[in-house]
């Protein structure tokens, strides 16, 4: 699952290096962690980029420093779920049969929901063989609300938390009098639409919602017909939860039509998107996310990014939450002295962790939702020390909301397994 011959060479040399380690140090059984995301198909670029990041983080923080639990290395096992719920169940069975007890998964809430219910059922039926779900990116609120599970931990702010910040930011802009909402037709896209309408109504009743459109996910060839409607509606801004090819095509179509209005997004950066947007989108595309972009606050994080870039020149550290999640899981493993998912889960609850950015983040025990500061960044080339896609373009964080202000009540009533 490599993206270029250069990467292939790099991984061959890593493989050769790791193959030699047992000769020099005492061989210990690795702690195996599955990374289950699309590694082929339309959304493969996001999945493979995440895989590189978790592999590098495992090497950087732990394996190069003697492993965990007194010398055990972390082994990341890539499992390709093609971002399909059916494939996810097959890959889950594979993970179980290989004895893997921790699964990282991030892309698509539909997949995360399937995985969560599959894991809950599996864990109920196979006591002593439980599996832990580390969700680093799927943001459907249900996962930590009505559908919450003891075996699921989310390391990203969910859609409503992000939209609270995004709508605050939009409400501050007096020039915006009307908003057009467009998104992929599935749970997350619908949450984005319903929530932004409700929140904007409350914060800025004068803003008119001039459009609310859904399109099938990954099926649209050309977004121009949609953009025609956006132009005709006279909208002052667009909100979208699109990701991957759907995001970049939409943004390009909007910009190509000559429309110069801000586009508020969740995922319009990295993996080729930033380079493709380039000059035309300067100051128009906004993202809400955790972990501030440029300026990077600490030297430690800069060092990590430089190291990652040296090892993966054609990739970026797109999701710092991946290494946050990995580090917190490892802290929980070390503290409980166990790799049993039940022990890890208990140690993760109400855990506080200081990130590379020097910020303390908190995993709430009630619903297994992470809390950390949220930021809004803009696509630009000014003040961008660390660019994306080696394009000279990147994100600059303009608006910051501290972690305390993102905390929301949860409706989660968690069923805790008894032991």
């Amino acid at each position: 699952m490599n993206t270029s011959p250069r990467n292939l060479l790099a991984s061959i040399s890593i493989a050769a290096a790791t193959a030699l380690t047992p000769l020099t140090s005492q061989a210990q059984e690795p702690v195996r962690i599955a990374f289950m995301d699309p590694l082929s198909g339309s959304f493969a670029s996001i999945g493979t980029s995440g895989l590189r990041q978790i592999e590098y983080a495992a090497e950087y923080f732990f394996n190069s420093r003697g492993g965990i639990l007194g010398g055990r290395p972390i082994e990341i096992v890539p499992l390709d779920n093609k971002q399909s719920p059916t494939e996810t169940q097959l890959q889950f069975q594979r993970a179980v049969s290989e004895g893997i007890r921790i699964i990282f998964q991030g892309n698509s809430s539909a997949v995360a929901n399937t995985l969560s219910s599959t894991i809950s059922r599996h864990n109920r039926r196979n006591p002593g063989q439980e599996v832990l779900q580390i969700n680093y990116s799927a943001v459907d609120p249900a996962l930590t609300e009505e559908e919450c599970s003891f075996w699921h931990f989310r390391f990203d702010a969910h859609a409503i938390m992000k939209l609270e910040v995004l709508t605050d930011y939009i409400a501050m802009n007096e020039d915006i009098k009307s908003v057009y909402i467009i998104g992929q037709d599935y749970s997350f896209g619908q949450v984005v639409a319903d929530t932004s309408i409700a929140m904007l109504q409350e914060k800025r009743p004068d803003i008119e919602i001039v459009g609310n459109e859904f399109h099938p996910i990954g099926q649209v060839k050309d977004f121009t017909p949609y953009v025609t409607k956006i132009v005709a509606s006279g909208a002052d801004a667009v909100i979208t939860g699109n990701f991957g090819a759907d995001m970049v095509s939409l943004a390009r179509s909007i910009i190509d039509s000559g429309l110069r209005i801000p586009i508020y997004t969740f995922y319009a950066a990295y993996d080729g998107i930033t380079a493709t947007l380039g000059e035309d989108a300067k100051g128009l595309v906004y993202l809400v996310h955790n972990e501030t972009s440029n300026p990077i606050p600490t030297e430690e994080r800069k060092e990590f990014i430089r190291g990652f870039k040296a090892a993966n020149p054609d990739k970026d550290v797109t999701q710092p939450r991946i290494y946050n999640a990995l580090r917190m899981v490892v802290e929980a493993i070390e503290e409980s002295g166990s790799t049993d998912p039940y022990d890890i889960a208990l140690a993760l609850e109400d855990r506080r962790h200081t990130t590379l950015s020097g910020e303390e983040i908190w995993m709430r025990g009630d619903d297994h939702q992470i809390f950390q500061s949220l930021h809004i960044s803009v696509h630009t080339d000014e003040g961008v020390e660390f660019d994306a896609d080696n394009s000279g373009w990147g994100l600059f964080s303009e608006f910051h909301v501290p972690a305390e202000e993102t905390i929301r009540e949860t409706s989660c009533r968690m069923r805790r397994p008894r032991r």
Binding site: S4, S40, G218, Q219, T224, P225, T228, S257, G272, A275
Partner: protein, 316 residues
Amino acid sequence: MLEVFIFATLNGLVTGLLLFMLASGLTLIFSMMGVLNFAHASFYMLGAYFAYSISSYLGFWTGLLVAPVVAGFCGALVERYGLRHVHKHGHVAELVFTFGLAFLIEEIVQFLWGRDTKNYQQPELLDFPLFTLFGQEFSAYRGFMIFISVAIFIGLYYTLTRSRIGIIIQAAITHPHTVANLGHNVPLIFMGVFGVGSALAGVAGVIAGPVLTTFPGMAIVLGSIVFVIVVIGGLGSLAGAFVASLLIGLLQSYAIASDVGMPDLLDLIGVSFERSHPLNDLWTLTLPQIAPILPFLLLVLVLIFRPTGLLGKREE
């Protein structure tokens, strides 16, 4: 409303003509060899990626000229050294061969160019609005896309119906043995047609890459719809492919532009449902929401009521 209608028509034309460039090659290959080439859209993707690589060194226009030739050459090689051998084992083998080839090409593209979206841009020369209507721009590049597609359609039509090569090709479709007995090299004609078909897909890729974005999933997104077109138009019918391409392009574009849906229908018959109704998703369904699947609906209808397609001839 008028502005939406005009732009929906223009958008539909652009999409339809683009689809035709793919469908024309596919339907030509089918009528000659009797095989549905599942890898056809892969040559479209190859065209876009070749053009991306070439354009980053030599500019867009060189890419436009060279990339389709390279894609066509790849197609010819596939026919000469792959399909021709598989041909002996019948149509099923050919079908499976092209099916596998589609996956192979996708993997090769990802291996060579990576999985990220490629920054393939339209030429600066065409980076201006052709005209502005009701405050909406229609880019010169889209006008250029229409121009190229129409030029290709006319060129193809004349080559096939008026030129000597076209007559030989038409004869080879129906009477390959007679054509061979007359001293023509039929396998060479087959290879040529496969190559030209792939090159046409390549052209589509070159000009669509900058607008529809160049990424490894682009073949899959367009591939299925192209099959729908050749089936609706009638397998092997060039005119049918043209009509069906425009039909589907416009159908999708109008569906997206429209604002009607189940709520309007329910209002009309005076029925209403609570938001908490278990079928709420169905009652709030709108036409734009299902626009991208309309072609498949049309496919089912055509297969039921007119299995030969719009302009297809009945199979013996």
